[in-house]
């Protein structure tokens, strides 16, 4: 079976000389289609660095990185933009919605850059917002939404292009427990529907929703535990759908 994600011996060094920070010291990570991976580790262990590389937001100092069988590092600027647009959905800890644009416009944006026609764009954006339970908030701007609602808009935006891979860097880090459950419920249902998800988290509670937990320390993978089979359902799906 072809891998969605194949990171081989990736290293990342920030700065140079004496002040150089080795954020990643050779990380390898393979993710199969349909997997639901939680990445854990202490603060500064390199989780976000790894995630940014996977999301094509940053480039590794050394090492190879294939996404859906494509060597992303070898692509030119324009093709990388297409990869970000079509293959990856990124959810940030700080939401990163564009201010003064309604929820609907924010969700439509990736489709606009992807060249989807306005009518089709609207239909798909509304469907994505409906999926995260925000059908009644489409006309609101980010500053008129709660944190949890903003994060759900961000998830809708990440999902709207039907990406191969959904990445989330501490998506519940800024949310209270109710909103956290909302978000985890969405992720679990997406996973049950077959979407490949990689999520970073500090909280063991959140990690327990994944099928597999990867632990980083000092820029290395120190532990890789499977909680549920790749083609099975996420372990705590029943709780969030109850």
């Amino acid at each position: 079976m072809s891998l969605v994600l194949d990171v081989r011996d990736a290293t990342k060094v920030y700065g140079a000389g004496e002040t150089a920070v080795h954020a990643l010291r050779g990380v390898s990570l393979q993710v199969e289609p349909g997997d639901y991976v939680a990445i854990m580790g202490a603060s500064g262990s390199g989780k976000s660095t790894l995630m940014n590389i996977i999301g094509c937001l940053d480039v590794p100092t050394a090492g190879e990185f294939h996404l859906d069988g494509v060597d992303v590092g070898a692509l030119d600027d324009r093709r990388q933009a297409v990869v970000r647009n079509r293959k990856i959905g990124f959810v940030f800890q700080s939401f990163n919605l564009i201010p003064r644009m309604t929820a609907l416009m924010n969700v439509e944006l990736p489709l606009a850059y992807g060249g989807v026609k306005p009518a089709e764009r609207r239909r798909r954006a509304l469907a994505a917002l409906d999926l995260v339970g925000l059908a009644d908030r489409v006309g609101h701007q980010p500053n008129e939404l709660s944190g949890g609602q903003q994060q759900r808009v961000a998830i809708a935006r990440a999902l709207v292009t039907s990406p191969t891979l959904l990445l989330a860097d501490e998506p519940t880090g800024a949310l209270d427990s109710t909103s956290t459950l909302d978000v985890l419920g969405i992720f679990d249902r997406l996973s049950a529907a077959g979407r490949t998800i990689v999520v970073i988290t500090h909280e063991a509670d959140v990690a327990e929703h994944a099928k597999r937990v990867v632990r980083l320390r000092d820029g290395r993978v120190i532990e890789d535990t499977r909680l549920a089979p790749v083609d099975g359902l996420p372990p705590r799906l029943k709780e969030v759908t109850a």
Partner: protein, 418 residues
Amino acid sequence: MSAVEIVRFAVRGLAANKMRSALTTLGILIGVAAVILLVAVGEGSSRSIQQNIQQLGANTLTVSSSTGGGGGGGGFRMARQQQDTGPRTQARPLTVDDARALADRAAAPHVSSVSPVVSANAQAASYDGASHPIQQVIGTYPSYFEASNKPVAQGTYFFNDDVLAARKVIVIGQTVAENLFGALDPVGRQITLTGVPFTVVGVLKEAGSTGGFQDADDVAIAPLTSVQQSLTGFGPLNQILVKAGSAGDVAAAQAEITSVLDQRHGVGGTVAADYQILNQATLQETVSAATSTFTVLLAAVAAISLLVGGIGITNIMLVTVTERTREIGIRKAIGAPRGAILGQFLVEATLLSLIGGLLGVAIAVAGAQFTIAGITPVVVPSSVVLALGVSVAIGLFFGSYPANRAARLRPIEALRFE
């Protein structure tokens, strides 16, 4: 990602900061309006000067002495040359006999009329308590009216008989008529010119005050002999106004005048001419060279303000890009290609300058309807095209630096930007 959408993003970006967009637009607006208006003022003054010259009358040549009298520049140079070259002791002034010789159809077949002219400036005239200093009193022959293109609106001209008999008759300009007579009909009334009574026989057609120069209507024209008797004395002529048969005859007439006068004044060999001939064409050339320099100067001043407006756009675009770096990062993270980001900011900059430019054109065209400093501006279409073109080019040029910087950022750099 269609072009329409990029424009929509740009408009939204500008609308998000209306005050700033408006002020930037104002900078370009002022620059464009200044360029168009100042060029229009330059063009307007140049046209009015040309008109003044044309009012001299077509096909006319003005002969004046190079040595004082009514002569133009060059008198000093001529005097020096005489000392150097020696043979002749004195430059001869223009005389009525010179004029008569030019009127000889055998010697000068292309000359149709010759008018000797003497003039006296600022002569006090009065009528029944009212007084007015006439800017220029001209003594001449009746042919002068046609040659100098000064038709009479009321009454008549004077005639050759009047010149022969030195009758004290006079034709006055509109300004003189208004100042001395007000609403009265001046024809037939007697005015006093520096103590000498003159009978008004006619009033000139209004020439219109053209440009900021002298008032062409503040004149009086009387027979040559009368003016010489009462005002100037029987000295040299100020000038001789010669009218050629037609526009095509002007060059031939000028050659004939030269040969007649050279002979009479003993010019030739080492002896330089002691008179000069001005024709309308050369005068026009000289003046238009001067006025176009003036126009270029005005345009240069205005161009600087346009440049300042352009720097304003760069500044605003830099601020905008910096302020929205995070947004750029988000857009890139969700797959915005470099071209879309570049396009958005370039369109923003171009829209700012285009709107400013169009408003500037509108204001300049509106402003050109008014008289500015006595000059009726004439909008030059090429200046409108140029100012608009330059303002858009400025938007593109000065906007491209910040836009490029925004588009080249790596997503993570833009997202981390605080």
